[in-house]
């Protein structure tokens, strides 16, 4: 009698344990997949000096100190409906662009390391200093939709060119004869991605209904040629050929691409 009772209680205990384990697994799976979906934020523009996106969503403690430090209310913290990791800072340049403050107040206040001054450290005579250089920020890169750009229609507009804090460097104007009228010129804006910081002042300034020039995160907007193509007309690049080891000539895997983020910072 005592034995059967014992058996029963043991069976009960086992049952409870299994049920608990099941619930735990179920909860874990649901929570885990929700977390993975919620952290996805490929199309988000981060504050200056942000570390690469993958690490950023881990690192950022979601305090909003950077948001409060920004004098222009550029940065906002993502809410549930912002399609990016809840509570992390981002900006929408068409609403408020980054005005590229020279003292970059948003970066040094970050407690977590998600915004890292090193990423935009000023170089003086080749030596890295503790000072920020906002021109080195790589928040994103401006893309231009030629079909929607008035200047490419031949109508005079240089709103983005004039708005750019790196006027003449990040955006230049390309002169072309307008064959259609025969007596006018095209003044076509061209973005140079090695200089562009992704501040979005151009997107903000664009006069079309939906901006013809807009900022995308670099990881999304840029392609990469791969080490095995050499610019034969460029001596420095030729040098590279001599030093190249065989291992480097193979195509990089998607993983390499993810791990390699240096190119975001010092694009040549």
């Amino acid at each position: 009698m005592a034995d059967t009772q014992n058996m029963n209680s043991r069976r009960d205990a086992l049952k409870t344990m299994f049920r608990g384990a099941g619930l735990l697994g179920l909860g874990g799976a649901a929570w885990g997949s929700a977390a993975i979906r919620l952290k996805a934020s490929e199309l988000t523009l981060r504050p200056p000096a942000a570390i690469k996106e993958e690490l950023f969503v881990k690192a950022c403690i979601r305090c909003g100190t950077c948001v409060e430090a920004c004098p222009y209310d550029t940065l906002q913290l993502a809410t549930l409906d912002d399609h990016t990791a809840m509570g992390t800072p981002f900006f929408k340049p068409r609403l408020i662009p980054c005005y590229m403050c020279t003292d970059v107040p948003c970066v040094p206040v970050c407690p977590s390391g998600a915004l890292d001054l090193k990423n935009i450290a000023k170089q003086i005579d080749g030596v890295q200093t503790e000072k920020p250089d906002i021109n080195k920020a790589k928040m994103g890169v401006a893309m231009l939709d030629q079909e929607a750009c008035l200047a490419y229609w031949g109508i005079q507009c240089d709103a983005c060119y004039r708005a750019c804090p790196l006027l003449g460097e990040a955006i230049t104007l390309e002169f072309k004869r307008n064959e259609r009228t025969g007596k006018h010129a095209f003044l076509k804006p061209v973005v140079h991605r090695d200089v562009c910081t992704g501040c979005g002042l151009c997107e903000h300034a664009c006069v079309t209904e939906k901006a013809a020039i807009f900022v995308l995160p670099r990881t999304v907007a840029t392609g990469r040629v791969g080490a095995h193509y050499i610019k034969g007309w460029d001596e420095a690049d030729e040098e590279r050929l001599k030093n190249m080891k065989e291992a480097q000539t193979k195509k990089s895997s998607p993983e390499d691409e993810l791990n390699d983020w240096e190119y975001l910072l010092d694009d040549e």
Binding site: G28, G32, E68, Q76, L80, G87, P111, S112, G113
Partner: protein, 276 residues
């Protein structure tokens, strides 16, 4: 006549002294944090995830720092030191006080409890019941999941910081989560979130075993009216009441409700020592 009203008023205030104090602290902190975003004050910038205090040092949520570490990112010294300061403060001094003196969710769940009692809402036994230990599993699961999903797993769904951020920076659709949480406490499980599920409450409960500030029970004064059981949101911690003197431990959040309702002075805040 006027004397009488005064007397009554002061009795009401006295009988709610800790609630009044707690709400003052909770709302005061919210105003200080909000002021940083709305009016550019520099006392407390940020939020309960991490706060920049007087523009000199940082405080951080140790639970968030821990999850981030588990996810594979070591935060800057600022955040780590900030997390340690907060952890030590609650672990050595204040106990689980975060929950009833600081956390903004506490005001929501307290309201739910108040209405639940007022409207006499009781959920049927077994309709939906969860163990009070669930929160420790949630706490553990959050840490285990963090490296798997590659992000601080609880922080990405955390309704506490969602509420706090919402108040300071704007809610978006975040309202829905808070309303769901309120309804859960109101209709489904009594003390559902704070008393059963919240991993942050579990975190502070687990780490503050030896905190100095604790409620002390004097069995000699106790008349066994059981009023404290009626107000405590963690009634299991009161198991010593009426049996022997000692300190209230574990999940007690130092809210002081039991002290307020006790007419025999058998409960009061005291400094913890292991001798009793």
């Amino acid at each position: 006549m006027i004397g009488n009203t005064c007397l009554m008023m002061s009795r009401i205030i006295w009988r709610n002294r800790y609630i009044i104090l707690r709400r003052t602290v909770q709302i005061g902190l919210l105003v200080l944090f909000g002021g940083a975003n709305w009016w550019g004050w520099k006392f407390l910038m940020g939020n309960y995830s991490s706060a920049y205090v007087f523009e000199t040092f940082y405080l951080a949520d140790p639970h968030a720092v821990l999850q981030t570490f588990a996810a594979g990112f070591v935060m800057s010294t600022d955040a780590i030191v900030g997390g340690i300061i907060v952890l030590l403060f609650y672990a050595l001094i204040a106990g689980r006080s975060f929950c009833s003196w600081v956390c903004p969710v506490n005001m929501i769940t307290d309201l739910a409890t108040y209405l639940r009692k007022k409207w006499k809402i009781t959920s049927k036994e077994n309709f939906f019941s969860i163990s009070r230990k669930t929160r420790y599993w949630v706490l553990g699961l959050g840490i285990v999941l963090s490296p798997i999903v590659g992000v601080a797993a609880f922080e990405i769904i955390n309704p506490i910081t969602l509420l706090h951020r919402g108040i300071i920076f704007g809610f978006g659709m975040g309202w829905a989560v808070i309303i769901a949480l309120f309804l859960f406490d109101l209709l489904v499980v009594e003390y559902g979130w704070c008393g059963h599920l919240c991993p942050l409450g579990a975190f502070y409960s687990a780490t503050s075993r030896f905190a100095l500030i604790k409620v002390k029970h004097d069995v000699n004064k106790c008349s066994m009216c059981m009023k404290c059981f009626g107000v405590c949101h963690e009634e299991q911690v009161l198991h010593i009441v009426g049996k022997h003197s000692g300190f209230i431990k574990n999940e007690c959040s130092n809210c002081g409700r039991c002290i307020e309702v006790c007419e025999d002075n058998a409960l009061k805040f005291s400094i913890y020592n292991t001798k009793i």
